[in-house]
């Protein structure tokens, strides 16, 4: 829905370094991005039983929209809303790709 905004000129996002965004506070999510040859997603969440699938879909959707093909993406979620997860992911990916956020 907002690919253009997220992707900054539609360029492919290359993960150039490790980066993080977010916190471990309640209602937030801590996102870590690392370089990797393949795409790996790790999700830890205190609401995994209720929202695990939703979170997984959100991560895949964001990676797709930002055209990230290879990276290790780790989430430590303390009950962040979907919009928060998206924002933290976007920031972490931009930091890891050295794109001005």
């Amino acid at each position: 829905m907002c690919d253009a905004k997220i992707c900054t000129d539609g360029e492919k996002m290359d993960i150039k370094k490790s980066a993080v965004a977010g916190t471990l506070e309640s209602n937030d999510v801590f996102v870590e991005i690392e370089e990797s040859d393949t795409l790996k997603i790790e999700i830890e969440s205190i609401v995994y039983a209720q929202f695990g699938e939703d979170i997984k879909n959100t991560v895949k959707d964001m990676l797709d929209k930002m055209d990230v093909k290879a990276a290790k993406v780790s989430l430590n979620d303390h009950g962040a809303l979907d919009c928060v997860i998206r924002a933290r992911l976007e920031t972490a990916i931009k930091r890891a790709s050295e794109v001005e956020a």
Binding site: S26, N27, I46, V47, Q50, G52, G79, A80, L81, D82
Partner: protein, 466 residues
């Protein structure tokens, strides 16, 4: 002849604690209590099995109890509350028989009327004389009120006082009198002071908490109950204390003098009483050091028993004279039923305590809780566990609006007239779902791990293993 024994081991032996008995404990030393673990270690060592424990509450400090359960020393539990670590283990199904959850009031009444008899009561006493006259008001482990232990001391077949401050001279005005006490045991320490009481209880600075607290105070103001003689109870949580602060400001400004504040007493209620907001404090349990200091020195701060506080068999119970109570919840459903026993995963992490006692007794019972906690909605179609029935709950306060039980139409109109943000409880549920998404249903097992027994003795819900 003296009642004073050298050790718990000796007391267990002389009393003849044997397999199949019920032992009782009270929780005024809260998460600092050493007594339950010390007693159960001796019981286990003596090879005794199949013990039922009736404890007013169980805290995570009592984790060694889990081994006694796994080893068959303890096979039955009755309590009004349990901490999250104990609760998670119970939820996993380690206990053969389901836990009996009662309320603080009905724990007292069922011990008194013999429907839940106690063989031996162990009283954790911060100070005792050699006759067993004891008090919680003084001593290095002072915890203030011993209110929940009164029924145990009065009605158990045998009573053992365990203290870490054995005084030579006969104690004046003891909380529990020695004529009910069989033995007195002195220990080096009965508890960890840091876990017994909080140093200070702080008012929340979280803006969401403050918004809810201010709504709560304005609801009281608009309810027609805010007048001379008003009585009040609130918890020790940050938002509850903030509500008390706003209420205090209103009471002082309007020069309203209430009759009493009730319950677990905090320093905040002590200050309100001192400043003239209430004539008296009635106290079953002190939450902080200021409350302990007050119950020791302030003649208007009175220690009361669980039966005086909240027994369903006592028409004069203080909860029946209560105008306003502010309570918490892990979940509320669209019928206003409240869950305080389990988290949203269905794991035990609490208990009624006095929740359903006060909700039924008070003229205005108010639940204060944020609409979302870590993406989980407070409002659902049906709570995971019914702790307090919805017909005893009047108002739900969230930061996104206030829902009034449809049974209370007149109250609802008053709150609308006071320009408070009134919403239908279904709207709150929809709003939470819009923000957080719809949670996947949680699978539960088919073994009953706990029965929730209401004030009138009915099992109103069961908790399944998870």
């Amino acid at each position: 002849m003296s009642k004073v024994l050298r050790s718990i081991e000796e007391a267990v032996k002389l009393i003849g604690v044997k397999s199949g008995m019920t032992l009782s404990f009270h929780h005024h030393l809260r998460n600092g209590d050493y007594v339950l673990n010390a007693v159960m270690a001796e019981v286990a060592k003596a090879g005794i099995r199949d013990i039922k424990i009736n404890a007013s509450s169980l805290f995570d400090v009592h984790e060694p109890l889990l081994d006694h359960i796994r080893n068959g020393v303890v096979t039955e539990l009755e309590t009004a509350y349990m901490g999250a670590k104990i609760g998670a283990a119970i939820s996993s199904g380690i206990l053969a028989k389901p836990v009996t959850f009662r309320t603080h009031g009905s724990r007292g009444s069922t011990i008194a009327d013999g429907s839940s008899p106690v063989d031996v009561a162990f009283i954790a006493a911060p100070t005792s004389d050699k006759f067993g006259n004891c008090t919680g008001k003084i001593g290095k482990s002072a915890c203030g009120s011993l209110g929940y232990a009164f029924s145990d001391a009065q009605y158990a077949k045998r009573v053992v006082v365990i203290t870490d401050n054995l005084v030579e001279t006969e104690l004046e005005n003891p909380s529990i009198k020695g004529d009910r006490v069989d033995y007195v045991v002195e220990l080096e320490s009965i508890g960890n002071v840091a876990g017994i009481v909080s140093g200070t209880t702080r008012i929340t600075r979280d803006p969401v908490g403050l918004v809810m607290a201010s709504y709560a105070a304005r609801i009281i103001e608009a309810s027609s109950l805010l007048k001379d003689g008003m009585s009040f109870q609130t918890g020790a949580g940050g938002a509850s204390l903030a509500a008390a602060k706003y209420l205090k400001d209103i009471m002082l400004e309007k020069k309203i003098r209430g009759s009493f504040a009730l319950g677990g007493i905090t320093g905040y209620l002590v200050d309100m009483q001192k400043e003239g907001c209430f004539d008296k404090l009635y106290d079953v349990q002190c939450f902080d050091l200021d409350a302990v200091e007050s119950i020791r020195t302030n003649p208007c701060h009175e220690e009361i028993s669980a039966i005086q506080y909240a027994s369903p068999d006592n028409i004069d119970a203080k909860v029946n004279k209560l105008d306003v109570v502010i309570l918490g919840a892990t979940e509320v459903d669209t019928d206003f039923n409240v869950n305080v026993h389990t988290d949203s995963n269905g794991k035990i992490m609490g208990g009624s305590g006095g929740h359903s006692d006060t909700a039924q007794g008070a003229k205005l019972s108010m639940i204060v809780a944020p609409l979302l906690r870590s993406r989980l909605s407070i409002v659902s179609d049906r709570v995971t566990c019914i702790s307090t029935p919805g017909d005893t709950v009047d108002v739900l306060v969230t930061q996104h609006g206030i829902a009034v039980n449809p049974k209370r139409a007149e109250l609802k109109q008053r709150l609308i007239d006071a320009r408070l943000p009134i919403v239908d409880i279904h709207e709150l549920k929809d709003k939470a779902q819009k923000l957080a998404g719809i949670p996947a249903p949680i699978p539960v097992g088919d073994k009953v791990v706990a029965n929730v027994v209401y004030r009138d003795g009915r099992i109103i819900d069961t908790i399944k293993n998870i």
